[in-house]
């Protein structure tokens, strides 16, 4: 098993507040790793640091041994590290299919000027994007809403669309921030299956932040638990479940039971 992502002593301070404090861990290629922790623990900030959306105060992130933490976010995406957002983030005034097609941008071989002129390469690209978008629509089971305007979609579908947008970039590592939020049990189980297939069929390494503990326990190969910005524990679901510090952190917090 090889390491695809190394997070090394990463720290993020907002003024006096240390949102992420000296966190280190490795992510193996092809694994599903979950980051858990109470509200405000610094999980989303950690994801923003990995995808280089916010600059780290100190520390670094390596992708396949290469430092990515000071690159512009679109460059990190170009290398294959793509995040989805905790807040429902989609292109509101586009249809589901348009959302997915436009998100294929990284795969274009024609230049922007080529697209403007409508060169053969550009037309080939567009055709390939459309075909791939239809694949993704099928993969995520979005056929029925493919031509629906994104702003009209219910929460569950928005989550799936967020993932579809991420998939369109053809990521090597995808960071999913609370992919099951706002879903009922059945929807969550369906999504858990999809995330698995993402890894199994498309070979994508998955990092996810989630509060739904049963789902986390079910899906994860490994779990990293953080609290007040610091790493508390790291291990298999079994190890995390029995970890004293983790149990304590969750008992002391508002969102109570870790639900195991």
């Amino acid at each position: 098993m090889s390491t695809i992502l190394q997070i090394k002593n990463i720290t993020k301070r907002y003024g006096g507040l240390t949102a992420v404090n000296d966190v280190s861990f490795d992510v193996n290629k092809g694994e599903i790793l979950s980051v858990i922790g109470p509200n405000g623990a610094g999980k989303s900030t950690l994801f923003k640091l990995i995808s280089s959306f916010v600059p780290a105060t100190s520390g670094e992130v390596l992708f396949n041994g290469e430092r990515i933490s000071s690159l512009a976010p679109h460059k990190v995406a170009r290398m294959g590290v793509v995040r989805t957002f905790q807040e429902t983030t989609i292109f509101r005034s586009m249809t589901v299919r348009e959302n997915i097609i436009v998100s294929h941008h990284l795969r274009s071989r024609a230049s922007l000027f080529g697209f403007f002129l409508g060169t053969k390469q550009a037309k080939d690209d567009e055709a390939a994007f459309a075909a791939s978008a239809d694949d993704i629509v099928d993969f995520l089971g979005l056929q029925a809403i493919r031509n629906e305007l994104a702003s009209n979609l219910p929460q569950g579908h928005l989550r799936a669309l967020g993932m579809a947008i991420g998939l369109a970039t053809d990521p090597k590592v995808i960071l999913l921030d609370e992919p099951f939020a706002g879903m009922n049990h059945d929807e969550t189980m369906k999504m858990v299956g999809l995330v698995r297939r993402l890894r199994d069929e498309r070979g994508v390494t998955v990092l996810l932040v989630e509060h739904d503990m049963p789902a986390v326990m079910k899906i994860s190969d490994r779990i990293v638990c953080i609290n007040f910005g610091q790493k508390l524990a790291e291990g298999t679901p079994q190890e995390i479940r029995e970890n004293e510090k983790v149990i304590e952190a969750y008992l002391g917090s508002e969102d109570a039971a870790i639900g195991m």
Binding site: H74, V82, T89, M94, V102, H105, I165, G166
Partner: protein
């Protein structure tokens, strides 16, 4: 392009290049040429403003680029003896170049902050024109010669305007050609991936970056194209008036460029063109209201924005049941 669009385009070309001149010839109202030339050129500038709206930025600074474009052309023609036809693209390119330098820092701003900075730009341009030695201060640059002949390998493409019996027709034709080309370019941008990416920027910049779009580059690119349009429009205006002054384009002009876009509709490529036409003629028609002209005008504008927030062209949508 499907046949219906192609047909519409052909009718439009016929109207602006043949019917309008015929009509003006028949009625003898040659002053209309001047009015319609202004509309065409203003709509070129407005097309640029519309493109910045398309990436989600409110641009109230197009007057600055029109002024700069006008001066670049005027200076090159009067002081370096460059052919007007060459100064036209040069004015556009010069404006695009400075808009890159200005845009890099200010395009990071969003919403009202960007809008305020662009508003100030027009004033900065005016004050610079007053202060710089090359622009000749408040006296401006006058007696700019009419455009000369444009020829390639001895073949005359455009005759010297001075030799025309009515240079107004020449300017009108030229302005309309510019307008048609501008809107073809704009239409093509919007309907290609370039436009789709602009829309993604408008709707969510963070997500756009996360799918790998170089958002900073795209913003500057769109702004540079926008300023290019502003620059060539300004150069044409200077040539028509045969003069340019620091006050040739002021803040009110920048605001008008923006209003043309609002009125026509921000969601429609041809919105700014229609908006310019309606607003320009609307203002003239309202001169019957005498001293209340501005009051009535403002009132009507406010009313229109309340009733048709998506612009006049959104009326078409409703009729076709697409809204």
């Amino acid at each position: 392009m499907d046949t219906k669009k192609l047909l519409g385009f052909a009718v439009f070309l016929l109207a602006v290049f043949v019917l309008v001149p015929l009509f003006i010839g028949a009625t003898g109202r040659v002053d209309f040429f001047y009015t319609l030339t202004s509309v065409a050129l203003l709509s070129v500038g407005a097309a640029g403003v519309w493109l910045t709206f398309y990436i989600g930025r409110i641009n109230i600074g197009q007057g600055a680029y029109a002024l700069v474009g006008g001066y670049v052309s005027a200076i090159l023609v009067t002081q370096a003896g460059v052919s007007f036809w060459l100064t036209l693209p040069l004015a556009g390119l010069f404006c695009a170049a400075i808009s890159v330098v200005i845009g890099l820092p200010i395009l990071r701003l969003r919403g009202v902050y960007f809008a305020m900075v662009t508003l100030v730009l027009t004033e900065v341009a005016r004050l610079s024109a007053l202060a710089l030695p090359v622009t000749n201060g408040a006296k401006g640059i006058t007696s700019i010669p009419l455009p000369g002949e444009l020829s390639f390998f001895g073949l005359t493409i455009i005759p010297a305007f001075g030799s025309l019996s009515n240079p107004r027709i020449g300017f009108y034709m030229m302005a309309v050609v510019l307008m048609v080309v501008t809107y073809l370019v704009l239409w093509r941008i919007v309907n290609s991936r370039l436009g789709h990416l602009c829309r993604s920027l408008q709707q969510n910049e963070e997500l756009s970056a996360s799918i790998g779009v170089n958002t900073a580059y795209l913003r500057v690119l769109a702004y540079a194209i926008s300023s290019f349009f502003g620059g060539i429009a300004g150069a044409m205006f200077a040539s028509i008036a045969q003069s340019i002054y620091p006050s040739s384009f002021v803040v009110a002009d920048s605001v008008n460029f923006m209003l043309y876009c609002f009125l026509g509709g921000l969601g429609y490529v041809f919105g700014p063109m229609l908006g310019t036409l309606l607003l320009y003629f609307g203002w003239d028609l309202l001169s019957i209201a005498k001293q209340y002209q501005l009051l009535v005008y403002s009132g009507v504008m406010i009313l229109l924005m309340l009733v048709l927030p998506n612009g006049v062209l959104s009326l078409l949508d409703k009729k076709e049941g697409r809204a």
